[in-house]
Amino acid sequence: MTTMERIHCDYAIEAKGLCKSFDDFQLQNISFSLPCGTIMGLIGENGAGKTTTLKLLLGMLRREQGSVRLLNLLPEENEAEVKAHTGTVLAQGFFYEELSPKQMNTILRRCHPFWDEAYFLQLLKQFGLPLQKRYKDMSQGMRAKLKLAAAMAPHPQLLLLDEPTSGLDPVARSQFLDLLLEFIQDETCSILLSSHITSDLEKVADYTAYLHQGQLLFCEETSVLLEHYAVVRCGWQDFQQLLPEEYVSYRKNAFGCDVLIRDRNVFSARHPEAVLDPASLETIMTLYAERR
């Protein structure tokens, strides 16, 4: 293992105008920046383009337009360096069924210049993963933890995680989040994670980006989102008195409406009698999707 030089930069990820089209889907003009030392959560429905975005960042898919900088390096020019400082956990593909973590270690330490065997074994111990157990005999939770251990072993500065906690029980998820928070204690480290489980992101993500049908609808500080967005529950007649610019979207049910408001302070000033409920990321996501 060679000792790693930490890369110092302002932004761990700078994506500008990323575009990619497939037969039935188009990723349009994705631009966002992840400041170093922070966690960004990527939310969106299945098929919104979260995995595609991650793959574009890594160069696994060729982008049609736009540019990417990871850790202030251009992946096209310094592919090996970028990947040496990046740890990835993808939903698909990993290791072979018949191999055990011990064998994975023997293989990966020869493949990765910064692989830290001692750290990998320590992580395995911390996660309670037996060294000799074959991958196919592991539960989903163990596999998720193993993937993360393998991604973290070379002390990366950027973690790209695609739905890392799907299939994990709440206890395991909580432990996983603790690990991520521990990882971010180093200011030069950053995380981009995509997840369905919005409650996890509410807890740990500094920024939240919402991908919907291939478009980035917003990318904001999570606390700002949670503080400013609100839901007004009112009757249909009351709703119809609202102007279109006052709300983002609404959902009608048999007994009233749920209306998503972008700025609760502005809305409160205009409609002081209105009762505003705080909006969770899940609510924001589901109501945003109702936008016509």
Binding site: F94, F95, E98, C111
Partner: protein
């Protein structure tokens, strides 16, 4: 490179063990009966089977999708696969030479060794050529389709030759072969079995096959560089 080769070895341990059993059985049979053509066939088959299995495993566990996120150059991923194929061929060839040689020397004496080596060289050339086309096909089309392509490549010349000899009337064949011998005089050297010609031909074939193998590797590297995951 070493890590990638290790991974293939680890993966094929189980398969390897089963195949080794067969090798031991037929090896023993060959030694005892003096008939080693079956062993020969088995070695050739294993030399082709192991790389295909390695490809297959890569595909089923989607290893390439993961490997692309690691700081491993795509070229290395391809080259390691080709090196592994060469290794398999090398090991099987060594086995064939040793066991076959032992059997022959036992039965017929040391003079047969030279002929045996020549045969092995020719078989290797053919196998290497087959593998160069096969590996390229496996990279390009994936193990499912690639396997079919490989079998077709193996069968096609044999089938063509068979058809050709069956369909052509006897007289035509004789005239053709006469014409060939007259046009290419060194072919008669083959007929006479002069060692220098045979050896140079064998080495030439091997070199040509190695060249094909190298070209196939380059082609696959190019293909992998452009691949999307």
């Amino acid at each position: 490179m070493l890590g990638l080769l290790l991974k293939d070895i680890y993966n094929l341990k189980k398969t390897g063990r089963t195949l080794s059993l067969f090798l031991v059985l037929y090896g023993a049979f060959a030694v005892l009966s003096g008939e080693f053509s079956i062993l020969s066939g088995l070695c050739a088959m294993i030399a082709v089977l192991l790389p295909i299995s390695a490809f297959s495993l890569d595909q089923s566990s989607q290893w390439n999708v993961y490997a692309v996120t690691l700081p491993i150059r795509r070229r290395l991923l391809v080259t390691s696969r080709y090196v592994f194929t060469l290794l398999c061929l090398g090991v099987m060839t060594a086995l064939q030479i040793l066991v076959g040689g032992f059997v022959l020397v036992q039965s017929y004496g040391i003079s047969e060794m030279s002929d045996h080596l020549l045969t092995c060289l020719f078989i290797d050339s053919v196998l290497l050529f087959l593998l160069s086309l096969g590996c390229a096909a496996l990279f390009r089309f994936g193990p499912e389709k690639g396997r079919i392509v490989m079998m077709a490549i193996a069968m096609l010349p044999a089938a063509a030759l068979l058809l050709f000899t069956k369909l052509m009337p006897e007289a035509m064949l004789l005239t053709l072969s006469d014409a060939a011998f007259r046009a290419l005089p060194f072919l008669s050297a083959f007929k006479n079995g002069q060692p220098i010609y045979l050896w140079s031909a064998a080495l030439f074939c091997l070199a040509a096959s190695l060249l094909c193998f190298g070209l196939s590797c380059l082609y696959s590297c190019r293909y992998m560089e452009k691949q999307e995951f």
